[in-house]
Symmetry: C2
Subunit: 104 residues, 2 copies
DNA sequence: TTGACATGCAACCAAATGGTTGCATATTAG
DNA sequence: CTAATATGCAACCATTTGGTTGCATGTCAA
């Protein structure tokens, strides 16, 4: 899970996910066209996304197609974010009470 | 939103959030007791969490209380993760089809 | 077969990151 | 008042990160 969080931390990588979300199965060169950096830099970002299992690749001849894998994101949403969301209102009202206790 | 993602990327900071989730309003020293690093290191992590608005602080005398703010996490869940979750099954079946097209 | 095209690998570099130590400041307890 | 306690600030350091350039390899098309 740590790899997923770290992978999501970089805006470039989130952009790549967005790009794949818009059009799945893009080749490396296709993904590069929207990015303002060298192909090799994009390759590195994609490697990190692959390691976090957020992107799956498939070799098709001399090209490499990239597919978005939404499962890890979903797991984070369910296992980690859900935990905090559940107590969202509680925590907020706790904070409010605390703050109000200060005022007078 | 970038700040939130970057803040969540570090396991120590997620641990701090977990700690506040378990017991809200902890003081700096209290938070340090569970961490295996110097107080100053924890301070830096907390500063990053504050900057991402994930933690709110309140001075009480010579102590500083830390409160979890779940709102940014919730926003990420809704605005960013939701987008990918929505097409989860679609993307998976796309991938499956693509993979099957390769086999024969 | 050969040239053009798509990707892979590795060395290198600047800047950011996560941590430390040392000292300063502010508040509370005795 | 004074000493202990809680936090703040700053310099410093090693490692990681995000990027580059240069060259190698593999595959398709003419």
């Amino acid at each position: 899970m740590d790899a997923v969080f770290r992978a999501l931390a970089d805006p470039t990588r989130r952009l790549l996910l967005d790009s794949l979300h818009a059009r799945n199965g893009q080749t490396l060169n296709a993904l590069c066209e929207h990015m303002d950096m060298t192909r090799q830099a994009v390759t590195k970002h994609l490697a990190i996304l692959e390691e976090a299992n957020l992107v799956t690749t498939m070799r098709r001849g001399r090209e490499k197609e990239h597919y978005l894998n939404p499962v890890p994101i979903n797991e984070i949403a369910e296992r980690w974010i859900g935990k905090f969301e559940r107590h969202r209102l509680t925590a907020l009202s706790d904070l409010k009470q605390r703050l109000e206790r200060e005022e007078p």
